[in-house]
Subunit: 298 residues, 4 copies
C-alpha cells in the first residue's frame, strides 16, 4: 500500500529515514528549514515542499524529526505549521527526541483539533538509520499505532509498543539516553581507576565486553574511551546535556529523584566548563581521568 | 598431568570450583573452617585436611576462595597458615574478592618467603561456577600464570591475563562489581521514572534488553528488578557495601575520585538504614522507588 | 515625603511589609487576589483596590510580593496587569523570590514600555518582616534604587546594592536560600552521625552555635533539628524544592555546575517521596536520620 | 596547683598550647620528634625530654598533640611509648584530630593498663592557640575530666563536655571539620554562580556575612575565597582530605550515609588531581569556579 507521507526534518537521522520510506515505495514529500537538504532527496524520488503547510496538507501521515523542542514547537505549533494544516484523523508521528512536556502538549493540541498523535522516537545512530536498523519505541492509541506500522517497518528493525499515552515513548527514549550516559560515566571512572594501577585500557575493555558487559553500548563506548576518540563528536556534549536536562525535567514533573542523572548533569556542565563542549559526550571519561590526574593520550 | 592442589574455602563458589578440579582429574585436598563443607566433597574423591597446614604442606598449588579479607588474612598470614607452610616456588592462587591492599601485602609476603603469588578472582555466580563457566581475571608473573592455566581451564570458560602485578586482577574484579552495581542503580532510577509514567516494567526491561542494553548484567538484574525478586538474596546488600568500600579504598589509594561509587555507597548505606540489609544488593532499586513514593509490588 | 505606593500581594510577608509602609506615613493602596487579606489592612489606613489596574494606575511605585513566578507573571504580564497600567518613569519593585529568567523578562518588558524595574528580594521570616528588620538585596539602575530607598528603609534594617542588572538581586536571593539549605543538609548529616555515637543533640548544637557556627542560620535551624520541630512548617518542603530548582535553573543558564544544589534537589524529592511534603524544609534532617536507621523522637 | 604535665607534639598548635600551660605556672616537660621544636621551649621554662618514656614516667598528665593517627599510634602504642610508661590512674589527654577508631582503641588499651584516657580535641587555628582562645570538646569519665579542667582552662576559652565515651569528642571534632568544609563547598558554588552573573564577590561576601551568614567560618573562608588567597595554605588540601576520610570512616562504622561528605571527598580528590594539593583546603572553591569555566584572579 502506498502511503502519502510528509517528512519534516532532514538532518543526519531524518534524511536516511526519509530515503528508506521512499525505497519502501511510499509517496514522500520532504521539507527542511535549510532547503538544500530537501533538494538532495529529489534523486530518491522525493517531492520537495517549500513550506510546512504545503507538505502537510495532503499527507496521510506527517513525520517530524527535528533537533529539539524548539524546532518541533515552531514547525508544529506556529502559524502555518502542522497543527493548522493537518487534516482530521490524520496522524502526526513525532520521532524526535523531545521533552515529555512538549509531547504532552502536542497530544493535547492534536486531540483538540481532532487529529491523531503518536510519539515514536528512535534508538540508533545515523548508520543504523541508513540501514533501516533503528529500534522504535512507539506510544499512542492502538489503532493509530497499527496504521503507522508500515512506516515503522520501513525505517526500523523492530518496534516496541510502550503504551497508549504518547509521552510514554518519550520517557522511554530519554531514559535510554540516560542509561547510555550512566554507562559512559561509570566506565570512565573504572578506566581511570585501572589506568592508575597500570592496567592497559584496551585489554581492560576487551575483558569487560567479552564477559558480563557485552551490550552494544559497552562495546561502542568502551572502544571510544580506550582510543580517546572524542573528536569529531558522534553526539556532542551539549546534546548530552540537553538530554540529561530533559530526563531530569521529566523526573521532577512526577517527583522522582534520579541521583545518577544529577551527577551526570554536574559532570557534563563541568566538562563543558573545562573546554570539552565540542567533543563527544563520552569525553566525560576524559574529564574524570583528568580529575584523577591522568594525562591525555598523546 | 595430575596436579596436587590444596583448596581452602568451600562456600557456594568454592565447593563447585573444587568439584570441577576433581572432575578434571586433579589431586585435590580440601579444607574449610566448617568441616562439614569439606566432608561433603569426599564423595567427589577429595582428600579432606583437618588443618590449613596439613592441606598446604605437600601441595603444588594452594587456592584460597574465602568470603573476605578477614578470612583470607587469617588463613594465609596467621600462625599455622599458608605462608608458614607453603613450599618454596609453590604458588598461592588467591581467587577471593579481596582488597587491593591485602593483595599487595600477600604479594610482598610471599615474595619475602620465596613463594609465588597469583591473583585470579572470578566473575560469575554459583551456577556458573558449577558449570565451569566462570570468567577469570588473572595477574602475576607470566611464568607463574602459565603454570596455573590447567587449573583455570578446569574452573572457568576463559582466562584474561590482566598484567604482571597480582593486585591488578583484584582492581579489575572490584571495578567489575562496581560496574554491575552502577547498572543496577541507573536501572533502578529509570524504572522508577517509567513506573511513574505508567509504563509496565516488564515491557520496559524487555525493550531495553532487546535493543542496546543486552548484556548479561542488564538481563539478570533487569529481570530481578521487574519481578522485585530481592529475597532470598543472591548477593546480600552488606556484600555490595563491602565491595563498594573496597573499590573506593583502591581508588583513594591512588587519588582517583569515583563519584558514581560514592553515590552507590551512600545509597547502600541508606537502603540498609531503611531495613534492606538482608535483601539482594539489587534492592537498591526498591530503595530508589520508595524515594519516588512508589509502593512495593504486593 | 509621602509616597504613593501600590502594594500587590498580602501574604504572611507582604501584609506586615505593607503595614510598615503605612506606619512610615506613606499612601498605600493594597491589592490581593483573596480580597479579605486586603480588607484587613483598612484599619491600618490602607486604601483597598479591587483590581491590579486600579491599584497601579496612580502609583509612584508598585511593589509585588507574591508566592512564585506564576503569580507574579499573572499580575504583571497578563491583560489588565501592572505592565499595561504602570505610568512611564514609574518603578515596579519586585520583592518576591522569583526566577532569574522571569526577572530578566520583566526588566526587558518594563524597559520596552518606558517603565523602571528594580528587583529587591528580602531575607527574613514573617517576624522580621513585622519588625521591619528584613535585609534587602537590591539591584537596578542607581537612580531608580535611590528613589526606592525610603521604601526599603520602611520595611528593612539594611539594604545591600548588588548591581545594576535587576536579576543580580534575584541570583543573590536564590543563592542565599541555597546556602541556608546546604547548612541544613550538612547539619542533618552531622546530627545523624553524632546521634549514632550517643551524643546528645541539644548539647551538640549548643557546642556548634557557641563556637564556630554562630550564624543565625545555624542557631535557627540547629534548634529546630534538635527539637525535631518540623510541623507546622515555617517554610514548606515544596517551597524548598521550588527554590532549589530556581537556583539550579539560574546556574544551568550560565553553565555553572552546583553539586551541592543537585544533592539537595534529590534529597528534597526523596523526602517528599517518603511523605515529608508538608513538613518544614529542615526536615530533610529527619530524612537523613531515617536513612541512618535512626528513629523519630517520640 | 602546680601540675606535672608531659606535652608530646610541638607543631604549630602544640607549641603555643605548651607555652600557655607554662605561663599558667605548670611544670611542663616537652618532647617532640624533631628535637629543635622542643629546645625552643626552654626559654619558656619547659623541661625537655629526650624520649617519650622519660617525659611520660613522672607526669600526672600526658598530652598528645600530633598530626595524625600514625604519629599518635607510634608515640602511644609502640614500645617505649606512653602506654608502657604511664603510671596507673594517670591521665592521657589526646588533643589531636585522630580517627574515632584509634580513639576507641586507645580507650581500651589504657583501661586495660589501669590508666585513664580523655579525648579533648580543639577547635581553632594557631593564632587562637597562641591566645589561649581554643574551644575544647572533651569526653571521658566525669571525674577524669574534672581533673583535666585546669589544663583546659590554660589553653582554651571554653570547654564543652560531650559525653563519657572519649571517642564522642573525636566524633564532634571530625564533624566540625566536615561542617566547615561543607560551608566552603557551598560558598564556592554560590560564588561561582554569582560571578557568572557579574556580581562582585567581595560585595557578595559582605552581604552574606552581614546578614544571615555571620559565623566565624563564613567570615574567615568568605574572605579567603573572595581574595583567592589559597597560598600559603592555612590548612592544606591533603589534611582536608584526611579529615573527610576520617568522618566518612566514622560514619561507615555506624552505618550513617553522609552524602555531603562523599561529595566533598570526590571534590577534594579532583582538586588534587587538578594540581591543587598544596593549596589551602578552601581552594575547592577555585576547583568549582574552574568547572564553571571561570578564570583565576590574576
Amino acid at each position: 500500500m502506498k502511503i502519502k507521507i510528509a517528512f519534516l526534518g532532514l538532518g543526519n537521522m531524518g534524511a536516511p529515514m526519509a530515503r528508506n520510506l521512499l525505497r519502501a515505495g511510499h509517496d514522500v514529500t520532504v521539507w527542511n528549514r535549510t532547503l538544500s537538504n530537501a533538494e538532495a532527496l529529489r534523486t530518491d524520488n522525493a517531492k520537495v515542499a517549500d513550506s510546512v503547510a504545503t507538505a502537510t496538507r495532503d499527507a496521510d501521515f506527517v513525520i517530524t524529526m527535528m533537533a529539539d523542542d524548539h524546532a518541533v514547537r515552531s514547525v508544529v505549533l506556529d502559524a502555518g505549521g502542522v497543527l493548522e494544516n493537518l487534516a482530521p484523523v490524520t496522524i502526526h508521528i513525532s520521532m524526535s527526541t523531545i521533552s515529555v512536556a512538549l509531547s504532552q502538549q502536542l497530544a493535547a493540541e492534536h486531540a483538540h483539533h481532532g487529529q491523531l498523535y503518536v510519539a515514536a522516537p528512535v534508538f540508533g545512530r545515523p548508520e543504523a538509520a541508513a540501514a533501516a536498523k533503528l529500534f522504535i519505541a512507539a506510544a499512542g492509541e492502538a489503532s493509530a499505532l497499527e496504521r503507522c506500522q508500515p512506516i515503522f517497518d520501513a525505517v526500523g528493525q523492530r518496534t516496541f509498543v510502550i503504551g497508549s499515552a504518547p509521552e510514554m515513548a518519550n520517557v522511554v527514549k530519554l531514559s535510554g539516553n540516560f542509561l547510555i550516559f550512566s554507562i559512559i560515566e561509570s566506565l570512565g571512572e573504572a578506566v581511570a581507576l585501572t589506568r592508575k594501577y597500570g592496567i592497559d585500557t584496551h585489554a581492560y575493555i576487551d575483558f569487560l565486553t567479552s564477559t558480563l558487559f557485552s551490550s552494544p553500548v559497552h562495546k561502542t563506548y568502551g572502544a571510544i574511551i580506550a582510543d580517546e576518540r572524542y573528536h569529531p563528536a558522534g553526539f556532542r556534549m551539549r546534546l548530552g546535556l540537553k538530554d540529561v536536562r530533559l530526563v531530569l525535567a521529566a523526573a521532577e514533573a512526577v517527583d522522582v529523584p534520579m541521583s545518577s542523572a544529577s551527577l551526570l548533569r554536574d559532570t557534563v556542565l563541568s566538562a563543558i566548563g573545562r573546554g570539552m563542549e565540542d567533543l563527544d559526550w563520552s569525553s566525560i571519561a576524559r574529564y574524570v581521568a583528568e580529575n584523577a590526574g591522568l594525562p591525555k593520550k598523546e
